[in-house]
């Protein structure tokens, strides 16, 4: 069976994407970080490592809070999207 990418999975979800970004990262901390736990704990692939830099996207965030809890460096300032925005589960 072929596996489905996270991006393809997210594409079936309903999101009301806000223009306000609800994730901030501290690039200085990320640069010196070796573990990059954000890459593994985010179920929505919001964090990516490219050429040694952590980049993020907030649009597909499932608002679980994993990144904020698991990053013990305090590099991720994750808040909830504004009320009414973000993931909008139709099944749950």
């Amino acid at each position: 069976m072929s596996t489905i990418s996270i991006e393809d999975k997210l594409s079936v979800n309903k999101f009301d994407i806000d223009k306000d970004v609800h994730i901030k990262i501290n690039e200085d901390i990320c640069k010196s970080c070796q573990e990059h736990v954000c890459l593994y704990v985010c179920p929505a692939n919001c964090y990516k490592l490219s050429e040694g830099h952590i980049t993020f996207s907030y649009e597909g965030c499932l608002e679980c809070g994993s990144c904020h809890i698991a990053c013990d460096k305090g590099a991720i300032d994750w808040t909830l999207p504004r009320p009414g925005f973000g993931i909008c589960y139709q099944y749950g």
Partner: protein
Amino acid sequence: MGAGPAGCACGYKLAQAGLQTLVVERGKFAGAKNMWGGAFYGPELLKLFPNFCEEAPFERYVTRQRISFLTDEDCLSLEFTTPKFSQPSHNGFIILRSKFDRWLADKVQEAGAIVAAGLGADDLLWNENRVAGIKAGGDELPASVVVACDGVNSVLAQKAGLREEFSPEDIKQGVKEIIEFPRETIEQRFNLTGDEGMSWAFVGSCTEGLPGGGFIYTNKDSLSIGVVAQLNALAERKIQANDLLEEFKTHPEVAKVIKGGKLVEYSGHLIPVSGINMMPKLYSDGFLVAGDAAAMVLGTGLILEGANFAIASGIAAAQTIIRAKQEDDFSEESLSYYKRLLEDSFVLKDLKTFKKAPHFLENPHIYNLYPDLACDLAQRIFISDGQPRGTTWNLFKRSLEDKASLWQIVPDLIRGKGAI
């Protein structure tokens, strides 16, 4: 704060008692932000809504409770079914939260409360050292008491100073897919008729040895399939829960029941699993915490329940507030009645009984050694290879010799006896 099971149960009871109640929900509608595995257990819902079975949008009721131990290829299952599951008081209901929470919030509204969806608390309103309401959408909304039912990431309980962020050792991450099928396909594949449903839990290769498990629930015309894994273990193993889910879906026993379906949703959520060991203080002046926000989840290894604890805590919070209102006293001391109510109910009794379970369930043997041992023994018992057979006891001894030693197992048994 929060129109999930805890907030709605609390709001419903308060509105019924004639108290002016506002339920604030940050999702566009109640349930928009909520997901879970799939089933609600126990009589809590029927106590709140005696006509639940006729009115509520549940998917199916649980008539087959199955647990399977997986290795990469093998599967040893134990299934329990009893006519009791089909009787009107049904032990478990399979529910999709987005539909169900909306219904629940409508009931709260019918009872006389205001449910404000699409509104979120920006902050608490303080009067000296006591919580005196919330700030939301640029307005100040004063209240005698605020109940934080805002889930595992509870911003309000943190702002009230009752808890810190939970730590990854105390958290499991769940990821889930909803896969759509014609209703008949589900009924054929799972041997169900009418509204019968199956709750299927998996232990073993589905988490590649990490603490956690897999699950499948039969909805009306879809399946919920997912994996739950310890958050810190995902980080340490450098693996995503979605990778575990994709691998789980290829297991021969799983692949054939999900074949041909259409993915309609992918979701993720956190579960606070350390129970009473991670529970924050539950009350302060003008403030209570209920449900996942207070880590009211029971995990025993065989069951993982939270929504019934959320509802029971929401009801206890409402009873506390109704009593406080009568005495016009919303002080910390008055609201401490909440904890007494929970101590007298299954909520804190169960969480105390299983106090050692969360630590015990971190034991990797549960997720690799024992499923392997169980499937190995099943092979020796059931596979006929033309060789002389041993007694079952001898086969067990051979499995044990191949897979483990008594020195590994005996300490686990001793620890397990007191924990689960």
